[in-house]
């Protein structure tokens, strides 16, 4: 284990750093006389004659905080000591002063390496910033433009019919007239789409006859819309008979809801 491996992830690692530094001081700095233990017999002449230049040291290198969400900042702090000829942090930062701090915005988890070079040698230290992805943003909303299905479910109403009839009632005329404008605009905005005109019936007639009756309702609604300028080739009448009721109670309120022409998005 060595000094170069100092990580500054947590507080405790700072303590480890300090401890390691002191160890380094004990083990390597030959010029400084060790305090407590009895000195060994000094190795004769060489140190005095040509003193080796001290290897530079990294006093500290930290990233705070060490974990961020993407887009947030972390601050790198460092200080180095000793004789240096070059100090740099990679990636993306380059040459720096002997001590300082820098905000970084890494897009992914990044390990920064501080490299110090001097006449006495080289020292490195690393600091890692863990980056997590933030929760996704809400889907992009096209300003003021609804999808065809949205338009059909919010701005287009069902045309209702009398029992066993496919003639367009007065209230259905009003509904279909309003629908026509919405449908024309929606079809102009969605040039490849078609609209399905579904015909439905209540539960009382036979299933077989209701296929024909509901087909009539779909076709009658389509014909009315075409008269109002909705392109005929974009409206597809489909009979569902009484196969897909909107509600299943045996009451006039429910039956009326089921006797309808309904509009849905087609391919």
């Amino acid at each position: 284990m060595g000094l170069d491996k100092i990580a500054s992830r947590t507080h405790s690692s700072v303590v480890v750093l300090a401890l390691a530094l002191s160890l380094f001081a004990v083990g390597c700095k030959k010029k400084t006389p060790p305090p407590a233990p009895p000195p060994p017999p000094p190795p004769v002449v060489t140190p005095k004659a040509a003193p080796t230049p001290a290897r530079p040291t990294v006093s500290s290198f930290t990233a705070e905080p060490s974990a961020i969400e993407r887009g947030q900042a972390s601050t790198l702090r460092w200080s180095v000591s000793g004789e240096t000829s070059g100090i740099s942090i990679e990636p993306a930062i380059g040459s720096v002063n002997a001590s300082g701090s820098r905000q970084v915005f890494p897009g992914n988890t990044t390990t920064y390496t501080l490299t110090v070079t001097g006449p006495g040698g080289t020292a490195t230290s690393t600091a890692t910033v863990n980056v997590t992805a933030p929760p996704p943003p809400p889907p992009v909303r096209q300003p003021s433009k609804k999808s065809l299905s949205e338009i059909l479910s919010s701005d287009v109403q069902d045309a209702l019919f009398d029992y066993d009839q496919s003639t367009i009632r007065e209230d259905a005329r009003a509904v279909l007239t309003r629908n026509a404008d919405v449908l024309k605009a929606a079809l102009a905005d969605n040039p490849v789409s078609a609209i399905v005109v579904e015909g439905h019936a209540d539960e009382r007639g036979s299933a077989e006859y209701n296929l024909g009756l509901a087909d009539r309702r779909a076709t009658a609604a389509k014909e009315f819309l075409v008269q109002l300028g909705v392109p005929a080739d974009r409206l597809k009448p489909v009979s569902y008979g009484k196969e897909r009721p909107q509600c299943t109670d045996s009451s006039e309120g429910c039956w009326q809801k089921n006797r309808r022409a309904h509009f849905s998005a087609g391919q």
């Binding site: 036979s206 299933a207 077989e208 006859y209 296929l211 024909g212 009539r216 489909v238 009979s239 196969e243």
Partner: protein, 466 residues
């Protein structure tokens, strides 16, 4: 067999007489239950391992004979204890058991011991039977073998009373017991001129798998299995006269179209659908070569069309500004078509020839009428009608097409629809909705003997096939 012929002739005369008496009732050739006399069906026993299957056998034999509606069934509790198992078990009227007759026993005790071994023990009170089947089963070569006889117990002696005697065999299990019982019952019914339903199927629509699919079962409700699995809407099935294929309305391509499936391979067969908003309610012509259906191929209202069985060679039959569906061709007379139309207002039954001419309304214009189904003999139709009830409350009716006389078979118990005739012309299967559940039932053509056939999911639109 001279005897059978004589019996048949006299029964036929009886049927005519009954029909004449019932002039105000519909003349439909359907006798009331018990028209062929009363039937005592003692429990048959099996030798050795065969006995284990006899519970099922006796139940099926009883049900088949009872279900035919031909006989008044005599409850088993009134039968004598001695049941003959083979022809030699019958004692002649005067014979005594010479060896065992001890003077001290007395005539009364002797008679008790022998009760059941003479024909008159079955034809007289309290049994009062006209006919009785006897027999037994045994195991031979690992198979279940049935020895079965039918006796006309009203005859003076056993040698002239035998109507039927035959040997049947099948697998030695419950299915085999069911099988020999059905075969024996079928032969008994045949001697009375009745068509056996053994082997006939009912095709229907069920929601039990989560979507409306075509299903098939034996006529008595057993052996139910799916024909389609499109997970769409499959409805209004029609079966080809030879039972080989089914045509139905499908929403597979998001609009009502006709699909045809083989009932032999289960595969889909080619059918060309017209480019129309609706192609629906198909039915086959009697020879199976063509399909009539309802289509908007000509624009406007759903009308009656005819095409080849593969959808080609389209011809339009009707032309009117009204919804017309459910064309059904008379099985005995290809030119006669009954269909449903809204041309006079609420849906009613109409008749025309296959060229689309001679159109007449069959129902009175009251209520709403639907689901016409031809009787195999081509003189009557069964159908659903709301006459006398609120819209939607259908009941099953039978009409004599020539006279337009009708008879109502169900009477307001739920919503009753889609009647279909059995090949014997005596049974009808139909759907009945009670509350929110709809199930299939069978009944005799006079409305009696109503039996529920299905329980799982919603079950509708039965079609009886061969």
């Amino acid at each position: 067999m001279k005897k059978t012929t004589i019996t048949a002739v006299s029964l036929f005369a009886l049927a005519i007489a009954a029909a004449l008496v019932a002039q105000d009732r519909i003349v439909i050739g359907i006798e009331k239950p018990g028209g062929k006399g009363s039937m005592a069906v003692p429990d048959f026993r099996g030798a050795a391992e065969a006995q284990a299957q006899m519970g099922v056998f006796n139940q099926v034999l009883w049900d088949e004979l009872d279900g035919s509606g031909l006989f008044r069934m005599v409850p088993k509790t009134s039968y004598p204890l001695n049941v003959p198992q083979r022809p030699e078990d019958w004692m002649s009227e005067d014979s005594r058991q010479p060896a065992n007759s001890r003077p001290s026993t007395g005539a009364a005790a002797q008679a008790t011991r022998e009760l059941g071994r003479r024909l008159r023990d079955w034809s007289g009170p309290p049994v009062n039977a006209t006919y009785s089947p006897i027999g037994y089963t045994a195991v031979q070569g690992g198979r279940l073998v049935l020895y079965g006889w039918l006796y006309n117990v009203g005859q003076p002696d056993a040698s002239g009373a035998q109507v039927l005697g035959k040997v049947y065999n099948s697998t030695l299990d419950e299915a085999g017991a069911r099988d020999v019982a059905r075969q024996f019952a079928a032969d008994i019914l045949k001697t009375f001129g009745a068509t056996s339903l053994n082997g006939s199927k009912v095709v229907f629509v069920s929601t039990r798998s989560g979507s409306k699919e075509i299903w098939m079962m034996d006529y008595d409700g057993s052996n139910q299995k799916p024909v389609t699995s499109y997970k769409s809407i499959s409805t209004t099935p029609a079966v080809a006269p030879d039972g080989s294929k089914v045509a139905f309305t499908s929403f597979l391509r998001n609009r009502p179209e006709i699909l045809v499936h083989s009932l032999l391979t289960g595969r889909r067969l080619p059918f060309y659908n017209q480019d129309a908003s609706m192609n629906a309610t198909p039915s086959f012509t009697p020879d199976g070569s063509e399909i009539l259906f309802s289509s908007t191929a000509g624009g406007g209202y759903a009308q009656i069309y005819i095409c080849s069985a593969d959808g080609r060679n389209l011809r339009r039959i009707t032309s009117v500004r009204a919804v017309e569906v459910e064309p059904k061709v008379n099985p005995k007379n290809r030119s006669e078509v009954v269909f449903v139309s809204g041309r006079s207002g609420p849906q009613q039954l109409y008749k025309m020839n296959i060229e689309g001419t001679d159109i007449v309304r069959l129902t009175t214009g009251e209520g709403e009428a639907s689901n016409p189904a031809w009787h195999p003999e081509g003189q009557h139709i069964a159908f659903a009608w709301t006459k006398g009830f609120e819209p939607g409350n259908f009941n099953i009716f039978v009409m004599d097409v020539a006279s337009r006389r009708v008879e109502q078979l169900t009477h307001g118990a739920g919503r009753n629809e889609n009647p279909t005739w059995a090949p014997d012309g005596k049974h009808i299967v139909f759907s009945r909705r009670v509350g929110r559940t709809q199930q299939l039932y069978s009944m005799l053509a006079d409305g009696s003997q109503v039996k529920q056939l299905t329980t799982q999911g919603e079950n509708t639109m039965p079609v009886w096939s061969k």
